[in-house]
């Protein structure tokens, strides 16, 4: 069943194929959130919130848009909101646990860990483009950023990653 057909059903309050929809999109939603939240439990909660928000606002979803980009936007916004809320609630020392050190690279880390050494924007762009398969123009919309800026950040990120990955792999 095509994802477009499932969304058509959602628009008519029919959720019987939600599980299929979830399997088709879970990876994109997960990575959109976890790269910001850095916490599995928070990510699990926000994944639920993302899908529920998507369903609740389904009438606003334009079928011409990429559902992956749309879900990514929702998940990312929820994750940022949650991050900011926690930042207010948690003492400064504790929040450092959530924020990776920009230069932290060690030989036991995988590439995903190395991604965390990028600054937020570059990391998000790489995740959205390479892992979540979003097009640059879709990423530009998600980040409300000019296309050229997105591409520039991406290429800079790739350069940095090549250097860092080369150091440890």
């Amino acid at each position: 069943m095509k994802i477009k057909d499932i969304i058509f059903e959602f628009k008519h309050q029919n959720y019987k194929n939600f599980d299929t929809f979830y399997r088709l999109t879970e990876r994109q939603v997960y990575f959109a959130i976890v790269t910001i939240s850095k916490d599995q439990d928070v990510t699990k909660d926000l994944m639920q919130d993302t899908y529920m928000k998507f369903i609740e606002k389904i009438d606003q979803f334009n079928d011409q848009l990429s559902v992956y980009a749309y879900l990514t936007t929702i998940g990312r916004n929820l994750a940022i909101n949650e991050y900011n809320r926690r930042k207010r609630d948690i003492h400064d020392e504790q929040i450092f646990d959530y924020i990776p050190s920009p230069n932290k690279v060690d030989e036991n880390e995988g590439i995903l860990d190395i991604l965390d050494t990028l600054d937020d924007i570059k990391r998000d762009i790489v995740v959205m483009h390479v892992i979540n398969d979003l097009k640059f123009r879709e990423i530009a919309k998600v980040l409300t950023m000019p296309l050229g800026t997105v591409q520039w950040h991406y290429h800079e990120a790739i350069k940095i990653l090549k250097e860092k990955v080369g150091d440890v792999l």
């Binding site: 309050q13 959720y15 879970e26 699990k44 369903i55 790739i158 792999l169």
Partner: protein, 341 residues
């Protein structure tokens, strides 16, 4: 390291990440969502329509028969494929017919009896508004591949329903229809359904009268009271007959009859003033797996075949006319389809 290798490694590592499964939690929440509608759904159907239904230019007739059935028996006919097909096709046809009638100022259509010297002249003169019926028929016939249908009952309003459906045409373009209606009991055995149907940004008012005893249906589709389309339906032995009339100021401007009794062809007869014609429509598939309309015509002493295909950009009809014992020739016509995307 090459960029492609780097990307491949990132993807590879990402694919090994165990994604937490929260789907059951979400499904549980979805089940608790307040539903504004009682929803009855039929998922996309890939099987072929029976042409019996495909041919039904009944314009909402059977559609409302089904709705009357809902009201009368309090059962769900939407699980019945026959009704679904009727709903989709007859509504689509009704809307197309009404759109065509109400949008074109000129009189008919197709071949007509007349004082023409040769077939070329006939077609040059008489196919001007061929698209009026082509739109209807290509929608009807091409939808045989796939359609989607959803019906909802607005629980807050007694006897109020909404039906949504999508169909495809000869170019596999999608059209979406939304039908909203309310069921009223007139007297024993007679029900009236009133509402509106919207497609391609066109909305028509509809009134349907359904007589249970005679199983007859009469529909009226209109945008203003001065111009409307009436469709009546009856079954005579094994033949389904739909009579369509286009009224302006309560005078019949044009009438047509669609009939069929098997699954292979549509018969269309029309009258408009002194002109009339008889045709048999079928759908075919060429060697490039593209659909085309095939029409057998018989007008006065002339007969022959017409094949209608779409241009590459889907904006034109190529109409190839092959008179019996005559030379083929091609006419192009602008295609008036408007689709939802």
């Amino acid at each position: 390291m090459k960029t492609t290798t780097l990307k491949k490694r990132i993807r590879q590592e990402a694919s090994q990440v165990n994604i937490p499964d929260v789907s059951l939690n979400i499904i549980s929440k979805l089940e608790k969502l307040e539903k504004p509608y009682i929803v009855e759904t039929v998922k996309p159907n890939n099987r072929h329509f029976r042409l019996t239904m495909t041919l039904s230019i009944s314009a909402l007739l059977i559609l409302f028969l089904s709705f009357g059935y809902i009201q009368l028996n309090q059962t769900d006919p939407i699980s019945d494929d026959t009704i679904i097909e009727a709903v989709v096709l007859s509504s689509m046809t009704s809307t197309s017919i009404s759109t065509s009638y109400l949008s074109y100022d000129d009189e008919t259509i197709l071949l007509a009896y007349g004082d023409h010297d040769d077939d070329t002249t006939i077609f040059e003169n008489e196919t001007t508004h061929l698209a009026k019926y082509l739109n209807v028929l290509e929608n009807l016939l091409a939808t045989s591949n796939q359609y989607r249908f959803y019906k909802e009952r607005i629980s807050a309003i007694k006897n109020q329903y909404i039906a949504n459906f999508e169909t495809t045409n000869l170019a596999n373009e999608t059209s979406t229809y939304t039908l909203s209606y309310k069921v009223n009991k007139i007297n024993d055995g007679i029900y009236q359904l009133k509402g509106s149907i919207t497609s391609n940004e066109e909305t028509f008012q509809i009134e349907i009268t359904y007589n249970i005893l005679t199983k007859s249906i009469l529909t009226k589709t209109y945008q203003n009271e001065n111009e409307y389309v009436m469709v009546s339906y009856e079954q005579v032995n094994q033949t389904y007959v739909y009579a369509i009339s286009h009224y302006i100021n309560d005078q019949v401007e044009e009438s047509a009859e669609i009939s069929f009794d098997d699954l292979t062809e549509i018969n269309l007869n029309f009258m408009s003033g002194a002109a009339s014609g008889a045709y048999q429509f079928q759908i075919g598939m060429n060697e490039n797996n593209e659909k085309f309309l095939s029409i057998q015509y018989q007008v006065n002493r002339r007969q022959g075949q017409i094949e209608i295909t779409l241009s590459e950009d889907k904006k034109m009809y190529y109409i190839t006319v092959t008179p019996q014992n005559g030379q083929s020739f091609v006419i192009t016509k602008t295609r008036g389809q408007k689709q939802n995307s």
